[in-house]
Amino acid sequence: MSAIVGRRRTLPGFGLTMGLTLSWLSIIILIPLAGLFLKSLELSPEQFWNILTSRRTLNALRVSFGLAFAAACVNLVMGSIIVWALVRYRFPGRRLFDAIVDVPFALPTAVAGVALTSLFAEKGWLGAPLAAAGIKVAFTPVGIFVAMIFIGIPFVVRTVQPVLQDLDPEIEEAAGSLGASRWQTIIRVILPSLAPALLTGLALAFARAVGEYGSVIFIAGNLPNVSEIAPLLIVIRLSEFRYADATAIATVMLVVSFVIIFAVNRLQRWAQNRVPAH
C-alpha cells in the first residue's frame, strides 16, 4: 500500500490497521451485500421482471416510495420551519425542543411503532378526535405516512440547521441594503443558499422512510396492495421461503439507496464548490 502512494509514513501501523479495516469491512458488510447481488443474478431477467411487476410487489413499492416521498416533502417544509425557529429565534424551551428533534433517531423503531399506533388508533389520544372528524389514521396508508414523517424529521433538521447557523449575516444585510424586502431576501438569497442542504435532508429523509420497517408495520394495517410496505413484503416472502422474491425486491431497494447516496455525495460536493475560498 505504501509503495503505491510512494511516500514514507512517519506513523506506524498503516498496513496493519488498513488490512484489518478492509478484512472486517468485507466480512461484515461487503460479502453479505455481495451475497444479495449474487443471489439476484441467479434469477433470470424474466423471473426478476415477473417478480417486480406482480401486482402485490408493485403496490408495495408504490406504497413505500410514494408515501416516503410525500413524508419527506412534509419533513422538508416542517423541518425548515423548525430549523428557522431554533436558529433564528429565542423562545422558552428552545434548547429542549432542539434536543427533542433527535428523539426519532434515538427511540427504537418498535417503540415508536407501538406508541404511534396507540396514539393514532381509533381510541387513542389523537386518533379519537381525528376519527370523530372522519379521518382514520391507524391501519391505513395515512398511518404509514405519519410514521414516516416521525422517522424523517431529524434528517432535515440536522442537515439544514448547521448550514443556516453558519450562513453569513452579511449576505442578508447586503440584500437589504440593495433594496430587497425581507421576503425577497428569504426567497432569493437565503433559500438558494440552503438549497443543497435542503435537498440533502430531503434525500436522507426519503431514503430512511423507504427502508423503514419497525415504526411503520404496527400502524400500517399491512393490507396487501393497500397498506403493505416493501420491507414487510420482503419479510413475508422470506417467511414463505420465497427467497427469490425477497431478493429481487431487496435488490431494487438497495439500488435505489445507492443512487440516493451517490446523489447526496454529489450534492455535498456541489455545495462545497459554491463556498468561496477564503
Partner: protein
Amino acid sequence: MTIEVKNLVKKFGSFAALDGVDLKVDNGELVALLGPSGSGKTTLLRIIAGLDWPDSGEVTFNGADALAQGARERHVGFVFQHYALFRHMTVFENVAFGLRVQPRAVRKDEVAIRARVKELLDLVQLDWLADRYPSQLSGGQRQRIALARALAIEPRILLLDEPFGALDAKVRKELRKWLRSLHHEINVTSIFVTHDQEEALEVANRVVVMDKGKIEQIGSPDDVYDNPATAFVYGFIGESIVLPVEVANGAVSLGDRPLALAADGLSPGASKLFVRRHDMLVGPPGTGAFEGAVQHVRTFGPVQRAEVALFGGETIEIDAPRDRELRAGDRVGLEPRRYRIFAG
C-alpha cells in the same frame, strides 16, 4: 449628498462603541474612517448604512432624518468587508440583484437591467467575468464585483467597510489607486473604514481618526500626518519619538536637563513630547534643544537612521538626510522642527 452625524452614542452592553460622535461629510467627498480595531469606525459606518441603530444621536442625509428610514429605503451602497457576494448567483446576477428586487412600478425592464449591469461591469473592468460564480474569482475581483453591485442601485452614498482588508499587499496597492480614480469618475459621497493609515492617507480627501468610540482628529491627510491633534494620533499615524518630559514653571525639562522649548499654555506636570523622526534636525553640539551622542548609524536609501543617546537620559532614533554623514561617537545638537507636548 451631505451626511451629518450628531452626538451619536451606541453601546454594546457596557462597552461604548460610539461615545458622542459628530461628523459632517460634504457632497462628493471621499472620507476615510481610520482607527484601530474596536475604535467604533465600523459601527459608525453601519449606523449610517442603516444596518445598526444608535442608542441616541442623529444622522441626517441632506438635512433629512436618515434614522427614520430602514436600510432598504436609504439608498446607500454598502461594500462589506468580506464582500458578502451571493454565492449561488453568477457575477452578472449579483450585480443585477439590486435592480431586480425593486418594486415593480419602478423596476427596469430586462433589456435595461442587462445594459446597466454591463455598464457597471465595464466600469469595474470585469465584464468578461459576467458568467462566473463568486467562488471562481480572486479576492480583488470579488471586491470589485461587490462594488459594482453596490453601485447598481445608484446609491446616494457609498460606504465601504475595510474594502481592502482581506487582500494581499500588491492587490491592495492597485485597488487603492483604482478606487480613487473611480471615485473621481462617479463622484458619489463615499466613506470607507480602514485600520491601515497608509491606505487612508493615500486614498481619502479627508481622514477621520477614531479611537475608543470618539473622533480624535478630522483633517486632510497632510494635516493629520503633519499636525496630529492628540497624543493618540501622534502614536497611531506615522512613527514618532516619544519623550517623557516635565513641565514646571513655564519650562520643559528632560530628566534634570532643561530644554530650550516654549512651554506656553502647557499645564505643569509629567508630560510627553511627540516628534517625528525626520523632524529632529541635526546640528553641531550646542545648537538645538537636545544634545546627545550618536551610538549607531544605519542607512536606508536616502536617509540615515541614527541612534542618539540624549543627555538627560533616553535613547532615540532619528532619520536624517545623508548630506551630512553621521558616525558613531559624534556629538550632535538636535532641534525638533515640529513637535507637540501633551500632558500625561
